[in-house]
Amino acid sequence: MAVEPEMTYPSLRQGLWAIFKRDLVIAFRQRSDLVNSLFFFIMVITLFPLGVGPEPEILSRIGPGVLWIAALLSTLLSVDSLFRQDYEDGSLEILLLSPQPLFIIVLGKIMAHWCITAVPLILVSPLLGVMLFLDAETIGVLIVTLLLGTPVLSMISAIGAALTVGLRKGGVLIAVIALPLYVPVLIFGTSAVEAASMSLVFSGQLAYLAALAIFSITLAPFAIAAGLRISVSG
């Protein structure tokens, strides 16, 4: 009878926390990633008044949609580096060979990514909302929808990032893969804000967004983990 070294089972929380902390520390040491996607978000939004005209009427009408689409694009832009840096320096292989379940590691990485890219964006959105002539209540609802919706965006785009991490031309491909899947989030997000701006009840849309968020947080990590294994083993 062979004596085996005892298997130590680290708690799932410990694995999640370790990778989350690592990614946050790295992001704060290389601030460019953090700042770039935020500035992209701000600049896209400031382009709209220049493109469609500065009339408050028009801007307040398209404002929620503009903010949402800018959020969506900046998520898409930043997600390419989510696994690519790890893939290029080899730490993705180490993560894949961890005894921890891969989906937990993936979840930790995406949580860190969300904190780095989505949170600053949500924090500046009230300011941009004011620049687009949205009223206070609308801005409040907008922030709630972004809070619920951006995790879904992160999860969906991470699936694209996982599948394309081994490929040289990742960026555009992620967009082609992920954009069609963004449709429901965009619809429910903008619709809630629009309803709020008309003083209609919007709790229904928020409930849909919450359902999408929980659903994607629960199941997407498994798809992302499978995608990473396919990309790395290929």
Binding site: Y9, L12, S197, V201, A211, L212, I214, F215, T218
Partner: protein, 149 residues
């Protein structure tokens, strides 16, 4: 319980909890009557704010359409309980007919009067869906064969 089983149990419980929470929210959302516009009853009950861009919807009351000197029109919209008046200055959509469902975007200037900047007619056509059965059923119900998709 051995640690591996325990870990698996936690994962399975997590998935079950997540999926059922999502389902619960979905259920809440479906219960919630998502109003995309104010009905004349809502407006009569004072739910719609004054002087704010809102959306109202209902059926055009037969015989209520009055055309002004130029493009301006007024008509009444009802949900068969209450009704309100819509003033509009612009070209009505092709599908606009009396008895037809419409949506108007605009401002409520006084109780029961909406100044619309946009009037949308409900798509009269019932579209034929890709699924055969569905399309046939609808065509049956409609009695005509209309633009699909």
């Amino acid at each position: 319980m051995n640690p591996k089983r325990k870990q698996r149990l936690i994962i399975v419980l997590g998935i079950v909890a997540g999926v059922s929470a999502a389902a619960t929210f979905m259920g809440v959302a479906l219960q919630e009557n998502i109003n995309l516009y104010f009905s004349p009853t809502d407006v009569a009950a004072g739910k719609a704010p004054l002087n704010k861009r809102i959306r109202v919807g209902g059926l055009v009351v037969a015989g209520s359409l009055k055309r002004g000197e130029q493009l301006d029109v007024t008509f009444d919209v009802t949900d068969s309980v209450e009704s309100l008046t819509v003033q509009y200055d612009g070209i009505l959509p092709d599908l606009f007919r009396e008895g037809q469902g419409i949506i108007a975007n605009g401002k409520l200037i006084e109780s029961g009067v909406v100044v619309a900047d946009e009037v949308l007619a409900k798509h009269d056509e019932e579209y034929m869906p890709p699924e055969v059965q569905d399309s046939l059923d609808k065509a049956k119900a409609q009695g005509k064969y209309s633009a699909d998709l």
